[in-house]
């Protein structure tokens, strides 16, 4: 009897050993940047192809997502696309950006095509006119945006702006300037100049105005300047000084810091009613307001528990809730555009560094290496962070991928710069 059962069992094994399909578990990914090659041909009257290549390469490389391979081995343009794909595959690139600058009956244009080398297909292809309005930098950044978005599905930020403050110490008296520039530091324009200190620049939600602190009246006061006209308006706060302006995303409010009864507290100014509401009420310092996405919640720095840490509070009511607990110093919080992360200045005994705090996971990760890093500002897509650091006693601006892996100093020749703020 037993033997019969065994028989049946064995036969069963026999028959089930042939599967209908094979299941394979793949779980060991390599984390790294996607390899890409860029090749721009031709030239315009003003610009060489190298300039386009360089700008796009810097943009994509600085984002942290791409590794730009040297394309000199495939510089010879071959007509047969299959052969080209084969060549690109051999080179190890996943993507190939091919661009051509040409003259079409007096109109100069640049045509670019993004190839997916693995699938052997074209992803996107566009033509952009090069005219007065579309200078080389603008066009190149635009191309970077398109490439970035097609591959990652994430919004490109290469055509956005940054604002920052510079100190010119070359003259007898220091000159302080507020600048607006491209993300790579080029096309920098000083929109305000003063012999007195300037601080804490912040963009309006539509990027049409910048609010900042000026000491022109020998004390900190908030001014709002319209970029297009240069018009300046002071934020009235009774006769008190005010600092740390923060624009609500719905454009209706501005949060700021003022001193009341010897304590630094946060207020919210209503642009419509011109009223000021007091938000915090604690002994000590409450400052550096940063709005939540819905213009209801405010993150801020407070030392109510001894050391400066980040707290949050609904600005109209409710109690303050402590956000950060790690380290002895957490300040200057900046919220990412998806509302999930705060970039901040963090010190855990090892100098002041930039850290990213995940609000949901309650996890803090240090992403910079200096000891005097400050003023972190997320890119509009949350994938990069701009901050101020020191190099040889001079202030510099650094852009880094949000995991700290790729770090690039922004070229702003010679100036002592600080307090960068990325536009929206």
């Amino acid at each position: 009897m037993k033997k019969i059962i065994l028989l049946i069992f064995l036969q069963f094994i026999l028959f089930t050993s042939t599967y209908a399909e094979l299941i394979i578990k793949i779980d060991n990914a390599e984390i790294g940047a996607l390899p890409m090659m860029i090749h721009v041909e031709g030239s315009s009257k003003k610009y060489s192809s190298v300039m386009f290549e360089d700008i796009v390469e810097n943009d994509l490389l600085g984002s942290g997502y791409f590794n730009i391979l040297d394309s000199s081995s495939v510089k010879n343009s071959l007509s047969n696309l299959n052969t080209q794909y084969a060549l690109w595959t051999l080179s190890g690139a996943n993507y190939f950006l091919k661009a051509n600058i040409f003259d079409e009956s007096g109109n100069e244009s640049i045509k670019f095509t993004l190839h997916n080398v693995i699938k052997k297909e074209v992803m996107v292809s566009y033509k952009i006119n090069l005219d007065k309005n579309n200078n080389i930098r603008k066009v190149s950044h635009k191309i970077s945006n398109v490439i970035f978005e097609s591959i990652t599905g994430i919004k490109g930020i290469f055509d956005t702006k940054i604002a920052y403050i510079s100190t010119d110490k070359s003259k007898e008296r220091n000159i302080y300037k507020l600048h607006v520039a491209d993300i790579d530091g080029f096309n920098s324009v000083a929109i305000y100049k003063s012999s007195k200190q300037l601080m804490s620049p912040t963009w309006s939600p539509k990027n049409d105005k910048i609010a900042y602190v000026s000491f022109e009246n020998n004390r900190p006061e908030i001014f709002i300047q319209t970029l297009a006209t240069g018009e300046r308006v002071k934020l009235i706060n009774g006769n008190l000084s005010s600092s740390a302006p923060a624009w609500a995303p719905n454009e209706k409010f501005m949060a700021y810091t003022s001193s009341v009864n010897g304590n630094l507290e946060i207020f919210v100014h209503n642009f419509l009613t011109k009223n000021n509401i007091r938000v915090t009420n604690s002994l000590g310092i409450d400052t550096e307001a940063e709005w939540g996405l819905k213009s209801k919640k405010i993150f801020f720095t407070s030392d109510r528990n001894g050391n400066p840490h980040i707290y949050s509070k609904l600005f109209k009511k409710g109690k303050a809730k402590r956000i950060t607990f790690d380290g002895t110093y957490n300040a200057d919080a900046n919220l990412s555009s998806d509302g999930k992360y705060l970039s901040l200045v963090h010190n855990n005994g090892n100098g002041h560094k930039i850290a990213i705090y995940s609000i949901k996971d309650k996890f803090l990760k240090v992403i910079s290496k200096g000891r005097l890093d400050e003023a972190p500002s997320f890119s509009p897509n949350g994938k990069m962070v701009l901050f101020a650091s020191k190099k040889l006693h001079k202030g510099i601006l650094v852009a880094t991928s949000n995991d700290g892996r790729i770090r690039k100093e922004i070229e702003l020749t010679g100036e002592d710069v600080r307090e960068p703020i990325w536009s929206h």
Binding site: L10, T18, Y19, L22, I24, A29, E30, I118, T152, G153
Partner: protein
Amino acid sequence: MNNNSKKKFIVTIKVIIVHIILILILDLNAISNLKKNKNSFNEINNAQFLNLKSISQEDIEEYRKLIKKKKAEEKKKRKIEADKKKKAEEKKKRKIEADKKKKRKIEADKKKKAEEKKKRKIEADKKKKKILENLKKEEEMDLISHDLLELEKELLEIEKYELLVRQQIIRNSQLSDAEAKYILNIKSRIENNWLLPHDIKHDKICAAIVNQLPSGKITSVKIHGCTGDTLYVDSLINAVWKSSPLPIAPDIEVFQENLILQFKGPN
């Protein structure tokens, strides 16, 4: 101390009493013995008194000689009797002993015999039993020999199957080795080509259904169960296409046209 002295006192009294009793007993015995001897002695003396008047000196001497003779005879007699008695006793003893011996022997013999009988009986019983069992067995064997034949037939068949199965097991293990190797080759090839950007977290399992030709060339890739996240899905697709052609199967039987790749990203 009081108790002890009391006890000693009691003991000494007891001892004294016992001694007194013993002495009394012994005395009584002695007295009774003395009494007995006295009586026998009195009887003899009385017998002599009757014949004293008519006896001359010669008579007396004869009589004395006679007495002496008699005494001697008596002595002899007594001796003979004693001897006789002794002999008789001895004889008796010997007889008793002999009887005893005999008895014992008889009993021993009896016992022996009984035991032997018992033994023989047991052996006989055993033999009987054995025989009975053997008989039984034989009967049984007779009964099942028929089944045995059938079983033998089945056994033969099973052996045949077992042979087949053994061959198949060997083949299976070859195949499973080959299959394991094949899976490993494909897995390494694809993992080597799987590149993920830095801030992608995706620990759910996404399946890619891959169709291939026997040459390893991939003909189609379909992703299942991975929604959203362009970069992640693209990374899977890229990893698969970049791995074409897939490694050739080490054994033709192991080749599968359809592969299900279960991708699991980092946490």
